[in-house]
Symmetry: C2
Subunit: 270 residues, 2 copies
Amino acid sequence: MAIVTLGPEGTYSHRAARAIAHGDEITFRQSVTAIVEAVSGGECDRGVVPIENSIEGSVTETLDALADHDVAVVREVVTPIRHALLAQGESFDTIASHSQALAQCRPYLEREYPDATLEAVASTAQGVEFAREDPQVAGIGHPANAENGLEVLAEDIQEQDSNATRFFAIAPADQRSDGGGKTTLVVYPNTNYPGLLLELLEPFADRDVNLSRVESRPSGRRLGDYMFHVDVEAGLYESRTQEAIEELEALAEDGWVRRLGSYDTEHVVE
Amino acid sequence: MAIVTLGPEGTYSHRAARAIAHGDEITFRQSVTAIVEAVSGGECDRGVVPIENSIEGSVTETLDALADHDVAVVREVVTPIRHALLAQGESFDTIASHSQALAQCRPYLEREYPDATLEAVASTAQGVEFAREDPQVAGIGHPANAENGLEVLAEDIQEQDSNATRFFAIAPADQRSDGGGKTTLVVYPNTNYPGLLLELLEPFADRDVNLSRVESRPSGRRLGDYMFHVDVEAGLYESRTQEAIEELEALAEDGWVRRLGSYDTEHVVE
């Protein structure tokens, strides 16, 4: 089976891909969109793409690529995040990272680097980029980022172990499954009125189906016009799920509802 | 009045800042977080930050900075987006941009560059970066991006005029206003159970208060633990808004509800 994920080797995505590879070959692409296209085009059997992490939230490129291409979600993989301190050496005076990564590492940073300035930037990746460009700056990220001149000064510097990244394993659309404990849908109502979002959620609440995530993404048609990515804690094989989706389809009759598939979760512990 | 926004000169943010400046001096920072800090720290009277655009969606750095700092939203500014084709010259064979920007410009691109490959990348900014690095690649963006070796090959290449970016004008927290037709809240329920999001939205639906935007952002505490940014189409001065928020506060009793303020909208036409 040909599996494709985000390169280079050693990324969190690569770790997640290994969890479903069972020894099969893993190849790399430089963007999520390229991975989704390789799977929807039949070039690869499986793709592994990051969907959400507990610091930076949803990966919008993944949401948009899944809405744009005909693929199935066949598995969810959750991996722990372990923060490392990365810099060109010990000469830095500023630590730049996402505010939540700084908060998660604060006890370590205040103990070991009490004089450093903590600077909140847009993402952990941006902090690591700054560190790569400037010996005065340290970033926080996966140890695999320590290439092109960065050193790993310390590993596992986070306070809590609750950090995690979710990935989806995707397959060509004809392999969509109805079995599994979770389901992902994309809904485009193509309309807007007071209480719309509430109405879209009610069919699930009425049947005690928990929604573990609701994310809005712009449709690209006009400001304020959204599609919704919805994760449901129930399988497509269940009649309550089917009934809720039928009600949802009636509400979105001017737009559409896409079932990306049902799947189970794999927790990677390493 | 000292106004601060995202530099360099000529960005969409700068245009939005001019709309509220009325001749006052505008200074620049390199990140949204730095702007929010300059305002919450009292260094500047007003900040102008992008909150959402009709292609790429919410600006997550802005959402996180507004949740982390004590500031007030005092005005909303909506500006039209006008796409330009940017490249080092006419020698490109690939046009790289966000899939929705490519879609919005497709009639022009297919007419003028029928042989070019359209490549979907993570953002319009990433496509422009690729164009800056590679003469084979063109990007799509604001004409002000044509610096450091890029030329504007064509302006206003988008099909529809419905493209827009929303900005918030922010002020120190003591200038929070209850007047104005829209209100922004941040809610952190600090709990999760089936139907929670639905329950959080019901106090508004019950009083016919429209929610124009609901965005979830990770709390940073654990995967699946969110805070919600909510835009309400009603002012804080209205009793129906006050009652809905009181009901919301009871639901979020283990967490918190922050009122960022009420404001009116300014449409920039240029």
